[in-house]
Amino acid sequence: MEVTEILLPGVGVRYEFQTSAGSRVGVVARRDGEFDFVRYERNDPDAAETLLTLTRDEADTLADILGAPRIVERFADLTREIPGLVSSIIELPVGSRFDGRPLGETRVRTLTGASIVAVVRGEHVIASPAPSEVLYGGDSLVVMGTTAGLDGVRRIVVG
């Protein structure tokens, strides 16, 4: 799934994605630690209805319940400090040529300069995976690098 990340100067970062049912959904991670969950309206695609606002603790609890670790959000803090550094989650498609192959074979670091800093598989997170770590289709790869680097990784992994 593709998640778009948009910087909101002075406010935080907004993540946006499309659900399979066709709703466009956004999460605003605010500097003050709160999260807004919004859904874009169908009659005005630029306007969004705020579904709920969560404090940092509540967001942590929700993340635990959903089982999806908030890795990218934590990296976002870091990428904001270093201009030019971006992070993204790239999903390894089932049936990709790297499905069942060790991470090292992708050679993404050599080819693009970007690093795969974690692999999220279901409820498990493999932080700082070794080159020998075997990847499986459906894994979410947490990648950090330049925008060009991330595009390169996407081409290698998905293509």
Partner: protein, 389 residues
């Protein structure tokens, strides 16, 4: 002494009450603070005696704290992102809004120096009011919001160049010294940004501390020393405070923001009050027509700015009008600029700027709230495009 404590106490309670009323109405407290100052000013409902001197001094601190916080909020990543996407929006913002004040100044019979101050008053939107508004109206997720915030970030940095320029010009500097001042200001900002990148962690170590009290005293002390020094070399003390905020690196800046926020709120409130105090209510009626025309015209030009900026992000017609309406609010920086003019002897810019900010400080949030209704006829006549992801 007794009268002083009593007066100050009553004033703070009054400001608290006004902020509460403003919050309930969904408005900014700044216009109400200015109005309170006007009413308590010379010849107003009640002459303040004992506390005037303190409020004036506190107001000076308030300006410095406003600019310090502005610097602390700044992030190089956000600035470069804004520049990359919205540099033309920043130019449109300047070209549409500053001339309104400048031309008005010339028509009102000011020389070009005084008119330049008025140009600043109509140019800079209130990042405080607008950011608060977007959050209150739950619009942080809206697609036009990044363009609005980018324009604000660019204005904030432009202030660092405009303020020194204005100070030099108002104190009777020649064109050459003005150019030098702008060059020096730009150079200084760049120098501080570069130094922060290389040496920021050292400053972070010196200023950062476990103890909130230490962070408070060190940041505040550093700000006052630098502001005092920039004042001594005839530059704007406010710019010195801004540069200090700029130089404090990320993590420490966040700590400093948290620690200083209540202090900024207190002293900024007293600044708006003291600015109003300088004006007698009698001075107000003659400037009202001019302020009204200025408010209406510069509201229209700001809406146009927002329409252009949001258009660059591919936002639809309704969102573009919302962006424009959000930007119309003027507030703290218009007053900071007007204060410089008043200090330089252009005393009648004081009541004009007060009336202007009271109007747009109230009108901006209202326009923003009802932007969809205002945009109605135009938006219906234009096909809403599919969202570009």
């Amino acid at each position: 002494m007794d009268a002083f404590l009593l007066e100050l106490g009553v004033i703070l309670l009054l400001l608290g009450f006004l902020a509460n009323v403003a919050g309930r109405l969904g408005l900014s407290a700044i216009p109400l603070f200015l109005l309170a100052g006007l009413l308590l000013g010379e010849g107003g409902v009640h002459d303040l005696g004992a506390s005037t001197e303190f409020i004036e001094a506190a107001g000076e601190l308030g300006v410095l704290l406003l600019l310090l916080m502005l610097g602390l909020e700044f992030s190089a990543a956000e600035f470069t992102a804004s520049m990359r996407r919205h540099a033309p929006s920043g130019v449109v913002d300047l070209v549409l809004n500053a001339p309104v004040g400048f031309v008005a100044g010339l028509l009102l019979g000011y020389d070009w120096q005084g008119s330049l101050a008025l140009a600043g008053v109509t140019w800079i939107s209130s990042s405080g009011i607008v950011a608060r508004l977007l959050s209150d109206l739950k619009r942080t997720g809206f697609r036009e919001t990044p363009s609005v915030l980018s324009v604000l970030v660019l204005e904030d940095i432009a202030m660092a160049v405009f303020l020194p320029l204005l100070v030099v010009v108002l104190s009777g500097g020649t064109a050459l010294t003005a150019v030098l001042a702008v060059g020096a200001a730009l150079g200084l900002v760049l120098l501080v940004l570069l130094a922060t990148r290389r040496l920021g962690h050292h400053l972070g170590k010196v200023i950062g501390h476990e103890d909130d009290e230490q962070v408070l005293l060190r940041v505040l002390g550093l700000m006052l020393v630098v502001a005092g020094l920039t004042y001594l070399v005839d530059a704007s003390a406010a710019v010195g405070a801004f540069l200090v905020g700029l130089a404090i690196p990320g993590r420490t800046a966040k700590r400093a923001r948290d620690v200083l926020r209540p202090l900024r709120d207190l002293f900024a409130a007293l600044f708006f009050l003291s600015f109003g105090l300088q004006t007698s209510p009698m001075d107000l009626p003659p400037v009202l027509p001019a302020a009204l025309v200025l408010a209406v015209v510069s509201a229209v030009t700001k809406v146009a700015t927002g329409v252009y900026a949001a258009g660059r992000d591919g936002v639809g017609p309704r969102g573009r009008v919302r962006a424009g309406a959000a930007l119309t609010a003027r507030g703290e920086f218009s007053i900071v600029i007007a204060e410089l003019a008043v200090v330089a002897g252009y005393t009648d810019i004081g009541p004009l700027a007060s009336a202007y900010v009271v109007m747009l400080g109230v009108l901006g949030p209202l326009l923003s709230r009802f932007a969809d209704d205002i945009a109605g006829p135009w938006a219906r006549s234009v096909q809403v495009p599919a969202p570009s992801s």
